[in-house]
Amino acid sequence: MEELQDKISERERMMTSKYPDITDLLEAKARRRRELAALTWEEKVAIVRQMQFLLPKGVWGTKPILPPTVKTQNRQK
């Protein structure tokens, strides 16, 4: 009887909720933001500069100049 009740509850849940539960995704997002905020300022500035490299061509006029070692490492990826 209990098993049947569980099945009915599950079916009702599926019928009433057609969207997935994303609570854990939102929690992970919030956690990641807290972790980012806790980095040192130097680390955060490095990330800000990294974000500039992701801008589409033309939005940012100057191509970032990377040291040869970094260029090499990137090509190998």
Binding site: R34, L36, L39, A46, V48, R49, T62, V70
Partner: protein
């Protein structure tokens, strides 16, 4: 060695170090300008300063607020900054100066609030390079005053991460007559009512 930032950006150690070094180099150039008298006291404001208090914020430029020394004619001019930097091989680009690969915007303090923010800016070290940034409360007051959508979004982050001394902020709000903007912000974004 690869350092994976929690943002999901993969920053290898060489790239991270390179970016830090260039940012420090840029600040060293600005420190030289201050030491040599091309600019008066300076401090970092805007998004890069805000990044010190909250998560990294995407921005195109580094806002450097400055006190400008008066020229022989008694007028304050930002041209001397451009001349100084151009003589050292740095080029202007639109309203910015490109220094060590980053766009720097020099902004003379433009009202009493930004002047106080500069006077009371906090001495910090970027790696081993000394510099100054606006306090969280002064940044918050400037965001309230400016009042663009992105300023409100950043200010919400300041509350979210609990980096503000509210009493200090409210004292600035009162002194710089920002009460109405503060009330509107609290109602819209903090769900607070008078």
């Amino acid at each position: 060695m690869t350092q994976v930032a929690p943002s999901g950006f993969e920053l290898d150690a060489a790239r991270l170090e390179h970016m830090r070094t260039r940012a420090a180099g840029e600040l060293a150039v600005i420190n030289d300008m201050e030491r040599e008298g091309t600019i008066g006291r300076y401090a970092i404001g805007g998004a890069v300063a805000a990044t010190r208090y909250v998560e990294p914020i995407q921005t195109y430029d580094l806002d450097v607020f400055v006190m400008l020394p008066a020229s022989s004619s008694g007028l304050l001019s930002i041209a001397q900054i451009y001349n100084y930097l151009k003589a050292r091989g740095y080029e202007p680009q639109a309203e910015f100066m490109m220094i060590e690969g980053w766009a720097v915007q020099f902004l003379p303090v433009y009202n009493a609030l930004t002047e106080e923010a500069l006077e009371q800016a906090i001495d910090v070290d970027f790696g081993t390079t000394p510099t100054r940034v606006f306090s969280a409360e002064h940044l918050a007051a400037i965001m309230l005053e400016t009042g663009r959508a992105k300023d409100h979004a950043r200010l919400v982050q300041f509350f979210e991460f609990g980096v503000l001394n509210r009493a200090v902020l409210e004292e600035l709000v009162s002194r710089y007559h920002l009460e109405e903007k503060w009330r509107n912000f609290k109602t819209r974004f903090l769900s607070e009512k008078e």
